[in-house]
Symmetry: C2
């Protein structure tokens, strides 16, 4: 065997000596200083015009015979500009911190709000991360039934060619299955939401079931059910879980329920989670726990001052060292 | 008051005498005959080339100073072609069946798998539906925390300018709130997944809670909690629910729990649900229940033979009449 995503991840974590995932949640209003200047170079402006123009023409495609009336009032140039700046920002962040990371995690919502230009930026950022030797985790929390689930899986694993994607399991087993099937065929993996890092997670995920245990343990069972088929030589499955780092008391139990699962651990840093509390995640090996951080890295310079790229690099490296040391226990 | 989405919907349902929602789940491999020919006209091909070209140029934007090496091997022309065909297909379907419908419901997954060109097609289809006097329900089942939820809401209600969007409530109240806030500010509404139409829905949504009742009733409580703030003059809220038409036994209970909610009722037709079983949804008025159908309309000609547009029009009109008659009870 040894060809599934569990092995891919374990080998990559070992080679890069990192379990850190750089979260990419770009807000066009809060990009690094200088990024908008880079997006304003004559070449970039020329490209923005090129990109904006066909959009205006495309609006005049006859949608049905005899209908040529379709026009839009939207001015797309600002969006293309924001998308180019977003792309430059994300690539600069990847270049600064990539050596300390094993993966990047673009938040699809942040690109989606820029429409088609945002989708183009997303594809370019993914390509850039791959070229820097990083895995890509699409954080879209998609979830739907049957054919729609399959279409989402195709978008993620065949079109965007990401290595992992977060999936929302509320719709049950038949809605999860297409994601696993398409991911596995692409040598990629799936991360099911099990216990998220936000306060409101308790509203549904922590509800106690009549049969015993909270709802999130039932979600963990989906992961456990899928584990066996996808475990590779390194002992890790290609179906993993999102388990918030803000509730470390859940981690030990989650690991019991999902012994082979890769755990994505959001909530370190700005949300209050501490790397030191995450040891149970690493029981099946260092690649068993992926620590994702976004604001604490991209905004490191706000606390330390100095160059944003240098501050981000230092913070990513500090996280990497702290987490890597845990693996020796 | 009377300015919220509940009133908008009620007025539109009354004016169009329809509660039918046309589901748009385009599969590039199964579009109406002739659509690909329309996408092959010289003008469309010219536009495809224009659309494809800047993509190739854009790949050469320097992502960081000194980096000009980024290139991709992907040939984008087939995707642009599929996206144009998808757009032509959806617009033809809207033109054929729109007069019998009150809204269209694009399944975002089906556009997303075509990448940026798919997103462009989605925007054009939404615009076309609006021009035909139809409301637009984005079926994306998005759900995420805090800033990400806000970004999704911006993508849906500010960028795509849809009138309603389906939202996955697994992440709890603080993840739902940004969708409601952004929607309400835009005069739009939100539909929370409460009990979906697929078989696997039972895996999580039907689990019995220790405190009594199934999980889906807790999801219905999110809707009920939001109802009061958003109820308009016609007695309908701007926060509604997705309740599968495949399990009509749940409908009566769902209506008790969510007396003011607009209910989107998927599962009629291909999935086995019957319009005749949906009466409880219409208790607060005809606009209280929106009946969505996709495959049974777009594929009507496969059963009846003849012109796809004419068969689709007849099936949509048949559904409209059947549902409208229920409202007289």
């Amino acid at each position: 065997m040894g060809s599934g995503f569990g092995d891919t991840l374990a080998a990559r974590v070992a080679a890069r000596e990192s379990q850190i995932v750089l979260g990419l949640d770009p807000d066009p209003e809060a990009l690094w200083p200088g990024v908008h200047d880079a997006a304003d170079t004559p070449r970039a402006e020329h490209l923005q015009r090129q990109n904006a123009e066909p959009r205006q023409h495309a609006e005049q495609v006859p949608t049905t015979p005899g209908d040529r009336s379709t026009t839009r009032r939207t001015d797309h140039a600002p969006t293309w500009r924001a998308a180019v700046a977003t792309r430059v920002h994300c690539c600069a962040l990847i270049d600064a911190t990539g050596p300390a990371c094993v993966a990047v995690k673009p938040q699809l919502a942040c690109f989606e709000r820029l429409g088609a230009p945002g989708w183009e930026a997303l594809e370019a950022v993914i390509e850039h991360a791959h070229q820097r030797g990083l895995l890509v985790i699409a954080d879209g929390k998609r979830g739907d039934i049957a054919l729609s689930a399959r279409a989402y899986a195709q978008a993620l694993f065949e079109r965007l060619r990401v290595d992992l994607a977060t999936v929302n399991p509320l719709l049950g087993g038949d809605a999860i299955e297409p994601f696993v099937t398409v991911a596995r065929a692409a040598g990629a993996g799936v991360l099911l939401l099990v216990r998220t890092s936000n306060q409101g997670a308790a509203d549904v995920q922590d509800l106690e079931l009549a049969s015993g245990g909270p709802v999130w343990e039932r979600l963990a069972a989906f992961v456990a059910e899928q584990e066996a088929a996808g475990v590779g030589e390194w002992g890790l499955s290609d179906v993993g879980a999102v388990v918030g780092a803000t509730q470390p008391q859940h981690l030990q139990r989650a690991r019991e329920l999902m012994p082979r699962a890769v755990m994505l651990l959001p909530g370190v840093g700005a949300q209050g989670g501490r790397v030191e509390d995450l040891a149970p995640a690493f029981l099946p090996g260092r690649a068993g726990g992926l620590i994702t951080a976004s604001r604490s890295i991209v905004g490191a310079h706000l606390a330390t001052g100095g160059d944003p790229a240098e501050a981000a690099r230092a913070e990513a490296e500090r996280l990497r060292e702290t987490a890597w040391a845990l693996g020796d226990r």
